[in-house]
């Protein structure tokens, strides 16, 4: 069987099964979304001898990376003789890679999804306080919100406050 690299649902039956299996691997920090919904799977190569998965870290220093690598390895164990999971920065993960389903699940579990268009957005050389990220409150839908802290409980989350329903909420960072 020829080895193929895919970024979609897989060209062979085995690759399709690998993609399906990856859909069951949750993100350890926000377990409502899978690694596929989060968009961190870059490619899958699968033959009966060897499965190779390339993933894109959401943040360079993401402490969950090793856990994700392990969970993927464990979930795919037995599907080929060898399973390799590799992290790469060959292209940047951006929050635009989160799938529509992933964004819906984030919203349903109380996270504001990132603003779309991060990858293409032109940034000034030094982004200053005039560049304020806007988030829609996941509870009441209001846009009258305030960034309280760009740094939250994990690398990828920021803390906002909703002026309308007067509740704090977290946003998956636009990056």
């Amino acid at each position: 069987m020829a080895t193929t690299t895919t970024t979609g649902p897989g060209r062979s039956a085995l690759e399709r099964r690998v993609w399906e299996a990856l859909g069951e691997v949750p993100d350890p920090e926000i377990p409502v979304v899978s690694v596929i919904e989060l968009g961190i799977i870059r490619s899958v190569e699968a033959t009966p001898e060897r499965i190779r998965v390339e993933m894109l870290p959401t943040f360079v220093g993401c402490p969950a990376l090793e856990m994700i690598r392990q969970s993927i390895g464990e979930r795919l164990a037995g599907m080929a003789e060898a399973v390799e999971v590799e992290a790469t920065f060959a292209e940047p993960w951006t929050s635009d890679r989160i799938t529509p389903q992933g964004r819906r699940k984030l919203r349903e579990s109380g996270f504001a999804p990132p603003a779309p268009g991060a990858a293409e957005a032109e940034q000034p050389l030094f982004p200053t306080i005039t560049v304020r990220p806007v988030a829609r409150c996941p509870f009441c839908g209001s846009r009258d919100t305030l960034l309280e802290n760009p740094f939250g409980p994990t690398r990828c989350r920021a803390i906002h406050w909703c002026n309308h329903c007067r509740q704090p909420f977290e946003q998956f960072k636009t990056i």
């Binding site: 870290p57 943040f59 360079v60 220093g61 993401c62 402490p63 790469t88 920065f89 060959a90 292209e91 940047p92 993960w93 951006t94 940034q123 050389l125 030094f126 982004p127 200053t128 306080i129 560049v131 304020r132 309280e148 802290n149 760009p150 740094f151 939250g152 409980p153 690398r155 920021a158 803390i159 960072k173 990056i175």
Partner: protein
């Protein structure tokens, strides 16, 4: 420490002088991020407000993550490991900019240093995002995106300290911190040995001297807006310092750093080469 040996150069498709210069650049960048990450982590638990405990712990995690990725890249060149590079050297062998050799100081000092460093680092990263050395290009692009959050946060604090309502102390402390830090801030752009090889090979998009000029041109209006002194004067198209520049840009290892080195290497030194 003399130049790092680069037995991995051929495998990465690099000429020897280029590889040596690249090792010098990567070591400087990695040490910058690593040392700053440790200074930042010292605020965990004692920052002025809880939100800043969270923020500085996050910043520290980012910087140490960046350092790890850079050390791993460097380790491919030197044929060693990221851990050996990070923890297995003597204090004198670290090559962080003098800006990062100072202890964390007071809050204003930490804020001013981060702002000066983050802006400088951003300019340096933009010179690498198109690098012909593709592993570094990808990493620099990713790091630059994360810096956006660091910069916006630090600018908020610069604003808050420079323009306090009804209090002189924050501004006074910020002025003192900037005055002390400016001469060392420019050391981030100390020319790597053999830089011309990096520029010729397209690994570095422009010289660090050109980066420095871009950095100063970007900072001038921000310092103007904050009504803070900007100790540079125009000389033709260049901005030249009005202070004496240190000649030991990445080599002054003072007592502050020696103490920090003792802390962050203590576990590694207790059992060198141990696996965890």
């Amino acid at each position: 420490m003399s130049a790092l040996a680069t037995p991995g150069a051929a495998e990465l498709g690099l000429e020897a002088p280029t590889a040596t210069a690249l090792a010098d650049l990567l070591l400087a960048m990695a040490d910058d991020e690593f040392v700053l990450g440790f200074w930042d982590s010292e605020w965990t638990g004692i920052a002025p407000v809880l939100e800043e405990d969270v923020a500085f712990s996050s910043l520290a995690q980012d910087e140490i993550g960046h350092a790890q990725a850079l050390y791993e890249l460097l380790a491919q060149l030197t044929g060693t490991s990221a851990d050996e590079l990070a923890f297995g050297r003597q204090a004198d062998e670290y090559r962080h900019a003098n800006l990062l050799d100072h202890a964390r100081g007071d809050w204003a000092f930490s804020v001013a240093r981060r702002f000066l460093y983050d802006t400088a680092d951003t300019v340096r990263l933009t010179a690498l995002t198109g690098s012909s050395f593709t592993p570094l290009a990808g990493l620099a692009d990713k790091m630059r995106r994360e810096e956006t959050y660091h910069l916006a946060h630090m600018h908020t604090w610069m604003h808050r300290l420079a323009r306090p309502a009804g209090a002189d102390e924050p501004r006074g402390r910020l002025l003192a911190a900037c005055e002390r830090l400016w001469p060392d801030a420019v050391t981030v752009f100390t020319r790597p040995a053999g830089e011309e090889h990096l520029v010729a090979a397209g690994i570095l998009g422009e010289s660090l001297d050109a980066c420095r000029q871009r950095w100063l041109s970007g900072l001038a209006p921000l310092f103007g807006e904050l009504e803070l002194p900007f100790p540079f004067r125009r000389a033709g198209r260049r901005l030249e310092p009005t202070f004496a520049e240190p000649s030991d840009g990445r080599r002054r290892r003072g007592d502050d750093f020696r103490w920090l080195w003792g802390e962050f290497t203590s576990v590694y030194r207790s059992e060198p080469g141990a696996t965890w």
